[in-house]
């Protein structure tokens, strides 16, 4: 599976959204993306790309788009 598909899958599986909703998606936009959902998302992305986020990046991961930028720091190209 391509990296971007893996990335999207984490959001789709956890927040039960349609792919078209992802590009503009931000933290708290949907009830499922609360603090608990956030940690589930982080865990799923860490697992998918075999990385471990710094705490600052977990906090900074405030949207689908921001997440892509953060992943670049971990050499994950989407």
């Amino acid at each position: 599976m391509e990296s971007i598909a893996l990335y999207n899958k984490a959001f789709l599986d956890i927040f039960m959204l349609a792919e078209k909703d992802l590009v503009t998606l931000k933290y708290h936009d949907v009830p499922e993306w609360d603090s608990v959902g956030h940690m589930m998302l982080i865990t799923a992305i860490e697992e998918a790309f075999d990385i471990m986020f710094d705490t600052e990046d977990i906090i900074g991961f405030s949207s689908w788009a921001k997440g892509k930028l953060i992943l670049a720091k971990y050499d994950v190209v989407l």
Binding site: I42, E47, D50
Partner: protein, 248 residues
């Protein structure tokens, strides 16, 4: 009966005192061990190899300064890269400073919190994320009876150890639904080198305050940790277990 066959445990400060007793007890109970120490030590490494061979377990030594979070993360990434997991975390590493409250410098206070609390906070943050993926885990934090009772000359140490208790209770509440249990052990006067840094007169006085009239052994703390890590303690979380011979 081996209580922890096939489990992986991460023990900080495993080279001496209670930490070494923990390594021995967990190996004897069948657990594989990530044995942490601050700096490389060939004698200790040989002792670990003997311990592993004797008990048919795997022991991986790992070295980093608890206050060096980059090194800490690097060590944890290598665990992850090897597809290993951590089922049990024991936050044991610590330092003790003895000084009257009014003679405790800002630097001493910060060092106590840096090693005895902040580093535990950060390591637990990383390792609990590995546990979350498995929906199970046991975290055991070694606090101290002085965190509950207070102790003259140990205001910084006791405050940092009290922070460990409050932290443990809070994360027990956060991680419970992930089936991760968090408990504290509060040792009393345990016969380690750390103990012998205290004045003799004071030690004798404190020993006589225990119902058992003796110092505790590192192995007695370790056996409590084995119990808490095992399925025997499956319904125990958010607790502080005193191992203090009935200190009054």
């Amino acid at each position: 009966m081996r209580l922890l066959d096939g489990k992986n445990v991460f023990i900080t400060g495993a080279s001496k005192g209670i930490g070494w007793a923990l390594a021995q007890a967990f190996a004897e109970n069948g657990a594989n061990i990530f044995a942490h120490s601050r700096s490389e030590d060939s004698q200790w490494q040989e002792a670990l190899e003997c311990l592993a061979k004797k008990n048919g377990v795997t022991i991986w030594p790992c070295y980093f300064d608890m206050t060096d979070y980059a090194a800490m993360k690097k060590a944890l990434n290598s665990i992850k890269a090897n597809n290993s997991s951590v089922d049990i975390l024991i936050n044991n590493a610590g330092v003790m400073t003895n000084a009257l409250f009014q003679m405790t410098t800002d630097e001493m206070l910060r060092q106590q919190f840096e090693v005895n609390f902040f580093s535990i906070f950060m390591l637990t943050q990383y390792i609990s994320r590995l546990m979350t993926k498995k929906n199970s885990g046991s975290i055991i934090n070694i606090s101290s009876v002085v965190a509950i009772e207070g102790s003259a000359g140990q205001s910084a140490y006791s405050a940092a150890k009290a922070a460990v208790i409050a932290f443990s209770k809070s994360i027990a509440a956060e991680l419970g639904e992930k089936n991760i249990r968090v408990n504290c052990i509060a040792p009393g006067i345990i016969d380690t080198t750390l103990l012998h840094s205290l004045p003799v007169q004071r030690l004798e006085k404190t020993k006589n305050k225990t119902l058992l009239k003796r110092y505790g052994l590192p192995a007695e703390v370790a056996s409590t940790a084995v119990f808490l890590a095992s399925e025997l303690a499956a319904y125990i979380t958010g607790q502080v277990i005193r191992v203090d011979g009935g200190l009054k």
